[in-house]
């Protein structure tokens, strides 16, 4: 299986070279269908990933072996349960993304076509790595390839600054993760996972690793307060790349958290290890879902929703850490299972939502909620698929989002069993925040679907939007179908994740997952989605039949009463857009209730002075807390350092010579000291 995967990685690297070579060919003559080749190959590779992931989950782990003989470093690859679970998700997301790209991104510039397969290969390499060096190699390659993709439309200034911000955070990840792997290394510098697992870190060394990994992987996953790049970089990338970034790349960062903190650091860590994860997770969940209610760009809104969902996943991992520290193995399994299930479910429904938003952007030429509307008429397939995704993101039963959030809430409701009063109070707060963020996400998703697909078109382009070609429709219908399926079968999916759970909590949990659903504890709670779905279907059909028998068939159509607004002029075919709810208007209650304290949201009516015929305007805005807490101090620090460095220019010649000499002496002294130890 690893041979097949290595060959697939090689195929992706070759695919990356194809567009570069094709661009070198002389113009004129028959041009290669480069886009078709790249995206078709990526589709094939993604299907191999999904199949191998599923195969390893069903057939058991594959032992480590080197990527290629005689390479410059060991480069061990392996496929255990945890890797396989994420690899399966990467395959599914990659396949949908490639299908979408086959319809819409074949004419992309060479830099995008070349970076796309590399991005896919790097993520797979990160997941397959069985030693710290390969892990870092894959992770950094992933950061670099995705930076190229974020900078795809670099002729626009805002995309350039988005890519720059993204690169800064990627470098931060690298700066933190390289020493973390170094600290994890077993004596003798062996960084293979087996060696690290044999001697897990302890005490202060483990605490430093926790901090470094939290910052390094958290910056990539978009955990608050390190999420500032995410709502800016996601909209900058092409839609199929955004789907891959949100569906798979954030999950690779979560994989790093799970692999390094839960698996490699061993089960002997104390309860408080879960606390930073819980705090950052809860903050991400609330800030992300709240921002999703005030953003007015569809992709930015979805990016904020990704922050929320990653937060929920990290809450699950943090609970698993804490339960494991308190020797509550079964509960640790429950929390880790909730996190794993949400990783898969969120990966799929967020891919669906981003691809659907991409379809909207192609069809209606805008992502801004205030320029869309009524798309359900022209894009029925996209609307139906998006409705499934929106329902799952809003965690409505019986869809997949509800199943994993139900598990997570069950784990949170059991958190009081840890016993420590401080932890109980923390878990209580986190439970309230998780419920708040779930409800906020519901509001955000209703806002997204209602403003984009319902109502009247707000622009002529929105009125003329149409569904994409068939491959793009399949790219939406496939994740929609899987979202329904995984929603109905959380039990079998949890059983499938057993190998991954073994890695995370070393605890058997399969006895609680049955075909019909999930039962936690000794009957402490049960969620049987097939029963719920059947009940809804039977009652719905019964109501429909009973109502049909007594009412006249069909409906009459007439113009809507538009709240007493003046009739629109003749040239506004779809009615006056300003009489419809707007993106700002729909978000206004939550913006005022929660946005004022949490996001420093403000709104002011700017009145022109008397006599001035200018219109009065509402000036509204908000500031993410990370801007004030992280970005602004870092920017001030940068300015202060550069001001100090400026003083070097004024040094005399002797001082200029002293500086490198002194550095040399200091470095030699350091080496001498290290040698002496």
């Amino acid at each position: 299986m690893l041979t097949a995967l290595s060959l697939t990685l090689a195929l992706l690297v070759v695919l990356a070279v194809v567009p570069v070579l094709a661009a070198q060919m002389p113009a004129g003559g028959r041009r290669l269908p480069v886009g078709m080749i790249v995206h078709g190959g990526a589709l094939l590779a993604a299907l191999v990933f999904a199949a191998c992931g599923l195969g390893a989950l069903l057939g058991g782990p594959v032992a480590p072996r080197p990527l290629m003989p005689g390479s410059f470093a060991p480069l061990l690859l392996a496929l255990d349960g945890l890797s396989a679970w994420f690899l399966m998700l990467l395959g599914l997301v990659g396949a949908c993304s490639a299908l979408f790209a086959l319809s819409h991104a074949n004419q992309a510039p060479v830099r995008v076509l070349a970076a796309y397969p590399l991005f896919l290969a790097a993520m797979a390499l990160t997941l397959l790595a069985a030693d710290g060096f390969t892990l870092l190699l894959g992770f950094e390659a992933m950061s670099l390839a995705s930076w190229v993709l974020v900078a795809a439309d670099h002729d626009q200034g805002e995309n350039r600054s988005a890519a720059r911000l993204y690169l800064v955070f990627a470098i931060l990840s690298g700066i933190c993760l390289v020493p973390a792997i170094g600290l994890l290394a077993a004596p003798g510098g062996d960084v293979s996972f087996a060696a690290i697992r044999a001697m897990p870190p302890e005490g202060p060394r483990a605490a430093v690793i926790l901090l470094l990994v939290m910052v390094g992987a958290g910056a990539k996953a978009g955990l608050v307060p390190l999420h500032a790049w995410l709502p800016i970089a996601y909209p900058a990338a092409p839609s199929h790349v955004t789907a891959l970034m949100s569906g798979a790349m954030t999950k690779v960062a979560v994989y790093l958290l799970a692999r390094l903190l839960l698996d490699l650091c061993g089960p002997a860590q104390p309860i408080w290890w879960g606390v930073p994860l819980l705090v950052m997770g809860a903050a991400s969940a609330v800030i992300g879902s709240l921002r999703a209610n005030v953003e007015e760009d569809g992709k930015t809104l979805l990016a904020c929703s990704s922050v929320e969902n990653v937060g929920l996943i990290v809450i699950g991992l943090g609970l698993a850490c804490a339960f494991r520290g308190a020797d509550l193995g079964a509960l640790a399994g429950l929390a880790a299972g909730a996190a794993l299930l949400h990783i898969l479910n969120h990966g799929l429904f967020k891919t669906l939502l981003f691809l659907g938003m991409g379809e909207v952007q192609v069809g209606a030429a805008s992502r801004r909620l205030d320029r869309l509307g009524g798309l359900i008429q022209g894009m029925p397939w996209t609307a139906a698929a998006m409705l499934v995704g929106v329902g799952a993101a809003a965690s409505l039963p019986p869809l997949s989002g509800f199943a994993s959030e139900w598990l997570l809430l069950q784990a949170l409701l059991s958190a009081w069993r840890v016993g420590d009063l401080g932890f109980q109070v923390l878990a209580l707060g986190v439970a309230a925040l998780a419920a708040l963020s779930a409800a906020l996400a519901t509001a955000a998703m209703v806002r997204l679907f209602g403003l984009v697909f319902l109502g009247r078109p707000r622009t002529p382009r929105a009125a003329g939007a149409e569904d994409g070609p068939w491959p793009a429709r399949v790219a939406l219908l496939l994740p929609a179908g899987l979202t329904v399926l995984f929603g109905l079968l959380p039990g079998p999916m949890l059983a499938l994740a057993e190998g991954a759970l073994q890695r995370l909590v070393r605890q058997d949990v399969t006895e609680r997952a049955t075909l019909a659903g999930v039962v936690v504890g000794d009957g402490a709670g049960a969620y049987l989605p097939i029963g719920i779905a059947a009940l809804l279907a039977v009652l719905g059909a019964g109501i429909w039949y009973a109502v049909r028998r007594r009412t006249p068939a069909g409906v009459a159509r007439s113009p809507a009463w538009d709240g007493g607004f003046m009739a629109p002029p003749q040239h506004l075919v779809c009615g006056d857009p300003v009489t419809q709810p707007s993106a700002a208007g729909f978000g206004q209650p939550l913006r005022q209730i929660l946005g004022t304290p949490l996001l420093a949201a403000h709104a002011r009516v700017a009145m022109p002075p008397p006599g001035d015929p200018a219109p009065a305007r509402i000036e509204a805005g908000f500031a993410d807390p990370s801007d004030a807490l992280v970005l602004a101090p870092v920017a001030r620090l940068r300015d202060a350092i550069s001001a100090q460095v400026e003083r070097l220019r004024d040094l005399t010649l002797a001082q200029c010579l002293m500086l490198p000499f002194g550095t040399l002496v200091a470095l030699l002294a350091l080496i001498a000291w290290l040698e002496a130890r």
Binding site: P397, F402, L409, G521
Partner: protein, 319 residues
């Protein structure tokens, strides 16, 4: 045998709900009218309205999509499904295993989303306004509900509603301050979820204050009938939920117990009557709040929920 009894009690329960839902709304309206010194319509009036609306052909806006036509059925099914999971006169109904409190909250959210989407479907100002307010209030009500569920889960060791009700009926827990706080929190959530005064006024069509009515302003005929039925079912569900958890007296044990069922039925009718009266008195005595006062109301519920769970932690760690 137990399975057969489960199915039988479930069927009786469903029939009971269908009878009770219009009556609950009618009785509350009649009681409110009496308290205000009016004669009031007969308690059967909601049923008559329902049958009359069913006979009328719905009028839809020209640009209404299939959401407007499908959402009423899904909304009504979600409300009925949630209500079917809440025990009334007997425990051990066939679907009791499905009746997890978080699942019931999820089904209520499903109904709410259907109504909000239907409100947004035509693209009129009122529908969007109602949907936006409804979703915002729900965002504050949901955490309060979860914290109350947490108190029950700690005390009863489960989130299954039937099991919680049975544990509380045994009475071994005694009176708990936490339960009192959870009751107040749940009452506030119930008021918000059912769009009653002081959060919303079910009888108003004033644009400044409308929430629930604004979303179904475009609905007519059988669609309006279904929305009204879903609202009535939700009110019945919340009364039944409060009765099952906080007033669990007299409910029949699982299995074949005709006498117990009669006792349970009488007890349930009495409890529902008391709750109707309480709601009518509360709504008559209090005025509708400004929309932006509602967060304070629900925030207080959230704090009470937090306090209840905290007290439980402290008492368990002392014991």
């Amino acid at each position: 045998m137990t399975a057969v009894m489960g199915v039988l009690t479930q069927a009786i329960h469903l029939a009971l709900l269908l009878v009770a839902a219009p009556l609950v709304v009618g009785v509350v309206r009649w009681l409110k009218a009496r308290m205000m010194g009016r004669v009031g319509a007969s308690p059967l009036q909601p049923l008559r309205d329902f049958l009359k609306l069913l006979r009328k052909r719905p009028v839809l806006a020209e640009n209404a999509s299939w959401i407007s036509r499908g959402a009423p059925y899904v909304g009504a099914a979600a409300a009925l499904a949630a209500a079917a999971l809440v025990p009334s006169f007997a425990h051990g109904m066939a679907l009791a295993g499905l009746g997890d409190l978080i699942v019931i909250a999820g089904l209520l959210a499903l109904g709410r989303v259907c109504m909000a989407l239907a409100g947004l479907d035509v693209g009129t100002a009122f529908g969007g306004l109602g949907a936006s307010r409804e979703m915002s209030f729900a965002a504050l009500a949901e955490p309060a509900l979860l914290l109350a569920v947490m108190s029950f889960a700690i005390l009863a060791g489960t989130t299954g509603l039937d099991a919680i009700a049975m544990t509380f009926q045994e009475g071994t827990l005694g009176l708990r301050v936490s339960l009192g706080l959870a009751l107040v929190a749940l009452l506030a959530v119930a008021v918000a979820e059912n769009a009653r005064i002081p959060v919303d006024n079910p009888a108003t069509h004033l644009e400044l204050t409308m929430v629930h009515e604004a979303m179904i302003l475009e609905a007519s005929g059988r669609h309006l009938a279904l929305w009204d039925a879903a609202a009535a079912m939700r009110l019945t569900l919340w009364f039944a939920l409060l009765a099952a958890i906080f007033f669990p007296f007299g409910t029949a044990a699982p299995g074949w117990a005709p006498l117990g069922w009669v006792v349970g039925l009488l007890a349930w009718i009495a409890k529902m009557g008391v709750l109707c009266l309480a709601l009518a008195v509360f709504e008559s005595a209090i005025a509708k709040m400004r929309v932006f006062r509602v967060p304070e109301f629900l925030g207080a519920a959230l704090l009470l929920g937090l306090l209840g769970a905290l007290l439980l932690f402290v008492s368990t760690s002392l014991a």
